[in-house]
């Protein structure tokens, strides 16, 4: 009797029951998975659209570089003079020595060390530096002339620190000078990275101004007798010691 009643109820509510079961199946198999998957798919689509745009832009830029290959090579050569791929310590010391002598310095010490690393966070690029300790005797105008020449030399050399003190001898014009210089260099990649964007635009005003500045820097040919002038390698600590020593000398000469 009861079973018959249940059967009758089921038959009476067959359509609503079937509808609700179908709704449940639709929700579990289609709606909920799509609801969770669509944001991921949209993210993927956005990422791929960006990558497509990057690659498309890069292809256009590379096409332009092919058209101006000689300009690219010439600019690369100029920039490599400013920041070489390797330390090139002999060439660097030769340049510093030439500038020092041209400025009229009597070079008393020239040593170097490797290892300081800098970074350009905006572009996620790191570079290394050669530290140079230069000791020399010279006058104030000679010092200014040296600094100007260093600042406009083709291989980039930064004056990290400098100090001078008057000599204790009869020639009071002659200063005992100590310079700590740093010259950056950057090891480059030799393999292609296809998906990385390329922002370089050889015709942009910023780049043209930069290249013009680089062209205006003075290039020092190798003097040919660089072996005579080459300094010895020391540790960075020794360079700092040299600076402290110069400071002490400066203090003692003042107290005299």
């Amino acid at each position: 009797m009861d079973t018959q009643k249940i059967k009758n109820t089921i038959i009476n509510f067959l359509v609503p029951i079937l509808s609700l079961v179908t709704c449940l199946i639709l929700f579990v198999t289609v709606i909920y998975p799509s609801f969770t998957r669509i944001p991921l798919l949209r993210q993927d689509l956005e990422g791929k659209t960006k990558l497509r745009d990057v690659l498309s832009d890069k292809k256009i830029r590379l096409g332009r570089f092919i058209d101006f290959k000689t300009v690219l090579e010439e600019n690369s050569m100029l920039v490599n003079r400013v920041m070489p791929d390797e330390e090139n310590v002999p060439g660097l010391l030769d340049q510093v020595d030439q500038i020092a002598r041209e400025s009229g310095f009597d070079v008393t010490r020239l040593s170097y060390s490797l290892g300081e690393t800098g970074s350009n966070e905006a572009n996620d690029v790191t570079y290394s530096s050669v530290l140079i300790s230069l000791g020399a005797d010279g006058t104030y105008p000679q010092m200014v002339s040296f600094m100007k020449a260093i600042e406009s030399a083709s291989r980039m050399v930064n004056i990290t620190n400098y100090r001078f003190s008057t000599g204790s001898g009869e020639e009071t014009d002659v200063l005992s000078l100590t310079f700590i210089l740093s010259a950056p260099f950057m090891k480059v990649q030799s393999s292609a990275v296809t998906d990385e964007p390329l922002a370089l635009d050889l015709a942009s005003p910023d780049f043209v101004a930069f290249i013009n500045k680089v062209k205006g820097l003075r290039y020092f040919e190798k003097s040919g007798d660089s072996a005579r002038k080459l300094g010895n390698e020391v540790s960075p600590e020794e360079i700092i010691e040299a600076l402290e020593e110069a400071e002490q000398t400066s203090e003692s000469s003042q107290s005299q």
Partner: protein, 200 residues
């Protein structure tokens, strides 16, 4: 006059049951239609996005193929770009100390001899020297911070922000006055600007 319901109780129950069945049927069908619509919309969306992704994958593969053929130029251009960005940053942040040395001398009055200049941490520089008299030292410190001083570089008028006199001592044997001053600099003025920079 009072109305009398003559419908039998069984008929009333039957009518109520029929209403419930009709309502539940319409309601469930309506829900099914709505959910069916939503499901259809989601299926359409998913398919559309998948097709777009597939199309993009094709385009990306094509571009990669074309770019990899230009690998040599790509390497050369990327290395140039990295060096350019790094050098631009270094140039923008490096101080031209030749300007500082020139400006110190330009603001030095007669009778002042500078014995040493020492860069200190931050933007301070220590200058020691000697003079014939105390007035020259006062004049020198005033010249350094004076924005009206016109014998220096006009672009470096505000280079020296503050001067602190550390020590002044008389050296009677040579009849000179030794001094030591700390000078705070506005380092930004010594920074190089690639286009129209301050350096002569």
């Amino acid at each position: 006059m009072q109305s009398i319901n003559l419908i039998p109780q069984q008929e009333v129950l039957e009518q109520t049951k029929e209403k419930a069945v009709r309502f539940s049927t319409w309601f469930s069908v309506a829900v099914l239609v709505i959910l069916g619509g939503i499901a259809g919309f989601y299926i359409y969306q998913t398919q559309t996005i998948k097709e777009q992704i597939k199309g993009l994958d094709g385009e990306i593969a094509g571009f990669r193929g074309e770019i990899s053929k230009l690998a040599q130029v790509e390497v050369s251009a990327r290395n140039l770009d990295k060096k350019y960005a790094t050098l631009k940053d270094i140039y923008a942040n490096r101080s031209l100390y030749s300007l500082l040395s020139t400006e110190v001398v330009a603001r030095r009055p007669e009778g002042i001899v500078i014995d040493s200049i020492t860069l200190q941490k931050g933007s301070t520089v220590n200058i020691t020297g000697h003079a014939d008299n105390y007035i020259s030292i006062a004049l020198f410190t005033n010249n350094l911070v004076s924005t009206q001083y016109d014998k220096g570089d006009p672009l470096l008028k505000t280079l020296f922000t503050t001067v602190t006199l550390n020590s002044v001592s008389l050296e009677k044997s040579r009849n000179i006055v030794r001094f030591s001053i700390n000078v705070d600099l506005s380092l930004d003025l010594l920074k190089e600007k690639i286009s129209g920079h301050t350096k002569d």
